[in-house]
């Protein structure tokens, strides 16, 4: 009987082809629009998080409990084998990169500028942030290097070139004074201005020596095997390391990005909500018409012996079939479109590009193909059609045969 009910439902929805086409088309375009919107949000957020994570913070960092508040060179951790092994043993951790960083004054000739001095392990850092690819002049650091990498704007302000030597002054660990001379090994040019203004890199060994903090670090920067595992990874680390260390996720370190994403997500939900309400009313009006014009026919079906539940099922199938037809066609078009856009982000130019760069993002519209980009729309439309189908079901259950036959 289910096959007959489905056959009846399918044929019924095509009785008024034009109306069904319009309803299906509204779902079709709605699904495409919402999928593209979700995909764009997904891609943009991923890119934002990726920027935060891959340019600098990693997904998780381990610090001295006071470091994040004080940012002091006195609040350091010792990344010895015991700590590293515990972190390695923790679930979901992929990469462990130590850093030591603090502010320093940099001087060349008559010019002096402040900047962030970051001590890194060149290989590991490159694996985490891809730092090497931003070297626009000179060369990248090697493990035993005594040179320095300077961001392009800072280099310009100091008027230094590759091969020049800059003098650095800062405060060392526990009140030691820190000073040193570092030949410029390379100039870094990041794709956005913020980092180009103050970033300088030397090797971790040189930095530990400079800050008089042998074997110490300000942070252990970690990556995880899957973005979804950030919070479980943090929980595991908290369990393993206890309160001796502060463990922070990327969004705790960069709440602004997190808030931007949440705010934008909210806007997206409102826009999609409006679109789906319109779609819902479109489907609803079609269903109302379908019931109204078949009132007598429905009465006849009950009169000749069709159980009301079975008839309600037919009408439920009709509503859901309209929804599914819209979903499937919308999905078939949006899937290749989204996949293409994921591989071909839309480049931006002019002022919009500058705004993107100011926010530390590459000037392009990125798209994502997360399963929820598609799944979300499918679930929402199915939800809408199920909600709408309550109306015909109620109508059938309340149907008075004699009244319907008279209509």
């Amino acid at each position: 009987m289910a096959a007959t009910e489905l056959k009846l439902a399918w044929r019924n929805i095509w009785r008024n082809r034009r109306r069904t086409f319009i309803t299906v088309a509204s779902i079709f375009f709605g699904v495409i629009l919402c999928t593209l919107m979700s995909s764009m949000q997904n891609g943009t957020y991923s890119k934002m998080i990726d920027n935060v994570v891959s340019f600098y913070s990693g997904y998780v960092q381990i610090h001295h409990p006071n470091y994040w508040e004080s940012k002091s060179i006195d609040d350091l951790i010792i990344p010895d084998d015991s700590l590293i092994n515990k972190v390695k043993e923790s679930e979901h951790i992929e990469l462990i990169v130590p850093r030591i960083e603090s502010f320093a004054l940099m001087s060349y000739g008559e010019n002096t500028k402040g900047g962030m001095l970051i001590g890194i392990k060149p290989e590991e850092e490159n694996e985490l942030t891809g730092l090497k690819k931003w070297v626009s002049k000179g060369r990248y650091l090697n493990t035993k290097d005594d040179g320095i990498l300077i961001a392009v704007n800072l280099a310009r302000n100091l008027n230094v070139e590759v091969g020049d030597t800059v003098a650095l002054i800062s405060q060392g660990h526990h009140g030691y004074s820190a000073s040193g001379l570092f030949p410029v090994a390379g100039i870094l040019e990041f794709p956005f201005p913020a980092l180009n203004n103050f970033g300088t890199y030397i090797t971790l060994e040189q930095a530990q020596l400079f800050f008089s903090a042998p074997d110490m670090a300000t942070s252990l920067v970690l990556t995880v095997d899957d973005y979804d595992k950030v919070y479980p990874a943090k929980d595991n680390l908290v369990d393993k390391l206890g309160e001796k260390y502060s463990i922070m996720t990327w969004d705790e370190m960069d709440p602004v990005t997190k808030q931007m994403i949440e705010g934008d997500k909210g806007q997206g939900i409102i826009m999609k909500g409006i679109l789906y309400i319109l779609i819902g009313f479109g489907v609803f009006s079609t269903v109302i018409m379908m019931i109204a014009e078949r009132r007598k026919e429905l009465g006849v079906m009950v009169a000749i012996g069709m159980n009301k539940l079975k008839l309600a099922r037919v009408l439920f199938y009709e509503t859901v079939l309209i929804g599914i037809t819209g979903i499937v066609t919308g999905f078939l078009v949006s899937l290749p479109l989204v996949i293409w856009l994921v591989h071909k982000p839309i480049p931006l130019g002019g002022e919009v590009a500058s705004v993107y760069e100011e926010f530390g993002m590459e000037p392009a519209i990125y798209f994502g193909a997360d399963s929820m980009v598609f799944g979300g729309q499918i679930l929402v439309v199915i939800g809408i059609t199920i909600l709408v189908s309550i109306y015909p079901i109620t109508k059938i259950m309340r149907l008075k045969v004699t009244k319907s036959l008279r209509s």
Binding site: T4, R11, R15, K296, E297, A303, I304, G305, T402, L405
Partner: protein, 228 residues
């Protein structure tokens, strides 16, 4: 043997401010194999009476017994099942399911009864052949004339092997030729297969064919004639 027996059957409508006594205490027995016409002017209670006999409407008082079942005591869901297995309906406006072919319309009832596919197909083909539409079994109602649609409706009414067929003004929308064909066919089914037919009608051609004519007026039987 009585197929239908009504006892003091009454229906009063209270929908408006004025009470309408559509059917007033009808006592009637209809035997198996009868070919009965219920006649009377518009508003005399023909359709209301048929609706109560067919379990489509509940009486205000009185009883309707079909075989051993008191129809007026059945619940709504039981009534649907009862109609499915006991009563065939033929409506004035044919009321076939427009998205199904003639054969599918006839099969539909049997499908609701849970009959298997082979039996359904066989019986649907036989019934449609019997009503003279063997060559139109795959046509949808919109492709059939009014007379042909009404013949499909008769085949559908018979598909469930009902105890009787209720036909509410079955010829009202048909031309003379179609009416004649339809009545001849129903008379043949009545005589050869002993199927009980009950009509409500204004149509004298139906009245002339009927072997029993019950006349209603103001919801009461004013005459009940049997022809020899």
């Amino acid at each position: 043997m009585n197929v239908i027996e009504t006892n003091n059957l009454t229906k009063t409508y209270n929908d408006s401010e004025v009470e309408v006594h559509a059917v007033q205490g009808i006592d009637l027995k209809i035997e198996e194999g009868e070919f009965t016409a219920i006649v009377g002017p518009s508003g005399c209670g023909k359709t209301t009476f048929l609706n109560m006999v067919g379990g489509l409407d509940q009486p205000t008082s009185g009883t309707v017994r079909v075989g051993d079942t008191y129809v007026n005591e059945l619940k709504s869901s039981e009534l649907i099942d009862f109609r499915l297995h006991n009563i065939g309906f033929v409506f004035q406006a044919y009321n076939l399911i427009p998205v199904l072919t003639a054969r599918e319309n006839v099969e539909f009832i049997m499908q609701l009864q849970g009959k298997d596919k082979k039996e359904r197909e066989q019986r649907a083909s036989n019934l449609l052949t019997e009503v003279g539409l063997g060559d139109r079994i795959n046509s949808r109602p919109s492709r059939l004339s009014g007379g042909q649609q009404q013949r499909v409706a008769v085949a559908r009414a018979l598909a469930s092997k009902p105890k009787f067929v209720l036909a509410d003004e079955p010829t009202a929308n048909l031309d003379s030729k179609s009416t004649e064909t339809l009545l001849d066919m129903m008379e043949k089914l009545n005589k050869e297969e002993n199927i009980t037919f009950i009509f409500s009608t204004h149509d004298m051609r139906v009245v002339n064919k009927a072997r029993r004519v019950i006349k209603l007026e103001d919801g009461k039987i004013i005459s009940d004639e049997r022809k020899s």
